[in-house]
């Protein structure tokens, strides 16, 4: 049990916790905007923690850089899709008075 495996375990735990929190928010929040808020923010914090854990587990700078690139792309894609979805839901709401 080195300190690396302890840190990996803690990071994984934090990641899973944020994913669970995001999912609970997705299921329980009342309106689309709040659900999107739960999904994008909590889930991507979760992804960040899991990515950190994976990078630590491998312990190589090159692999950590690749994981960071993947993470960056994932949050940019999530930001874009969240924007688009928010716009669609707002349109749907203005359509039905």
């Amino acid at each position: 049990m080195t300190w690396v495996s302890v840190a990996t375990g803690l990071l994984l735990f934090a990641g899973v916790f944020f994913y669970a929190a995001g999912t609970v928010g997705l299921l329980r929040f009342p309106d689309p905007a709040a659900r999107l808020h739960a999904l994008t923010k909590a889930d991507h914090l979760g992804l960040a923690f899991i990515a950190l854990a994976a990078a630590l587990e491998w312990g190589s700078v090159a692999i950590a850089a690749k994981i960071a690139a993947v993470w960056l792309l994932a949050i940019m894609a999530a930001g874009t899709s969240a924007q688009l979805m928010a716009r669609v839901t707002r349109q749907d709401h203005s359509d039905e008075p």
Partner: protein, 314 residues
């Protein structure tokens, strides 16, 4: 630990497949199908088949998902109902009984075959002769190059078949534009498309390059490229070409053509699709780059669909 993970994974695969097939709202069905495709990718990872996992997630979940969403939008615009109206209960029950019986027979057949990686050592022995280290790339582009050559023609043939569905007076025009209609949404999608297209180019080139030694390859790279093209088209950063644009037609056939030319050159040296000793890797990488580019363009256009009469929005 692994056993528990795999068991849960299989249950989740079956569950998402059930929801994708039976949920009433078709958009939800597509969403679950995409999740199903990603879980299938995880299953391939659990099997140690990283090449297939990449292909399944990129093509099976990504491209097929975009295709289904796009088709749904087009059908809804035409006023079609996609929400299922199921058959009578008795017929459902009968179908369920028959299909379960079929699945059980298939399962019994599967159980009678012992899982076996018998060809892996054979392929391992042959790999040093082509200088490539990824055995899947070796099979695809050297030992079963025939299949891959024909497959690239299948893709091309499918695109020709899709184009042949165009109305007669629409023929040489471009497919229906993929750009978003809402100006503000278009703005968001455009900046994302402009950002992603160059990244997709680099990632595709990287995937093809590492594909010779590690997981990756022409199909995976080509699909990433297709994804970049589609995102750029949705953001309006890129228009779709007319079907009679000669430069564009050359990009479609470049991959299969280079493959075929190298295969025929091999025939001059002995056998069709045989690579000369020592040059195999260079030829394979050349074929893969051309193939990946053609596959990217072909897949993007397969998703875009046949030419349409005038500028309409899906």
């Amino acid at each position: 630990m692994t056993a528990a993970f795999e068991l849960i994974l299989c249950l989740m695969i079956l569950g998402t497949a059930c929801v994708a097939l039976l949920v009433r709202d078709f958009l939800a069905a597509i969403a679950f199908f995409v999740v199903f495709g990603n879980l299938m990718g995880l299953a391939w990872l659990a099997l140690g088949a990283v090449n297939v996992a990449l292909a399944e997630i990129a093509i099976g979940a990504g491209v097929t998902g975009v295709l289904l969403i796009l088709t749904r939008g087009r059908l809804l615009a035409l006023g079609e109902q996609i929400d299922g109206n199921p058959l009578g209960h008795w017929l459902n029950l009968g179908a369920a009984v028959v299909c379960s019986a079929f699945a059980v027979v298939l399962g019994a057949a599967v159980l009678s075959i012992a899982p076996d990686d018998g060809l892996a050592p054979v392929i391992d022995r042959l790999m040093p002769r082509i200088g490539v280290e990824n055995p899947v790339t070796g099979v695809l582009l050297a030992f079963r190059a025939y299949d891959t050559l024909l497959e690239s023609f299948v893709l091309l043939g499918a695109l020709v078949a899709v184009w042949s569905l165009a109305p007669a007076d629409a023929w040489p025009r471009a497919p229906a534009a993929l750009r978003m209609t809402d100006p503000a949404a278009l703005n968001v999608a455009e900046s994302f498309g402009r950002l992603v297209l160059p990244i997709a180019l680099v990632v595709a080139a990287y995937l093809v390059w590492v594909g010779s030694d590690r997981p990756g390859g022409a199909f995976q790279g080509g699909t990433v490229l297709a994804g970049g093209f589609l995102l750029a088209a949705m953001g309006g950063a890129m228009g779709l070409p007319r079907s009679d644009d000669p430069a564009f037609r050359w990009t479609l056939v470049a991959g299969p053509l280079v493959f075929l030319a190298i295969g025929l050159a091999g025939m001059a040296l002995g056998r069709f699709l045989a690579y000369p000793e020592g040059m195999a890797k260079a030829l394979i990488v050349t074929i893969e780059y051309f193939l990946a580019f053609s596959i990217g363009v072909t897949l993007a256009l397969l998703v875009a669909g046949p030419p349409v009469r005038a500028e309409t929005v899906p």
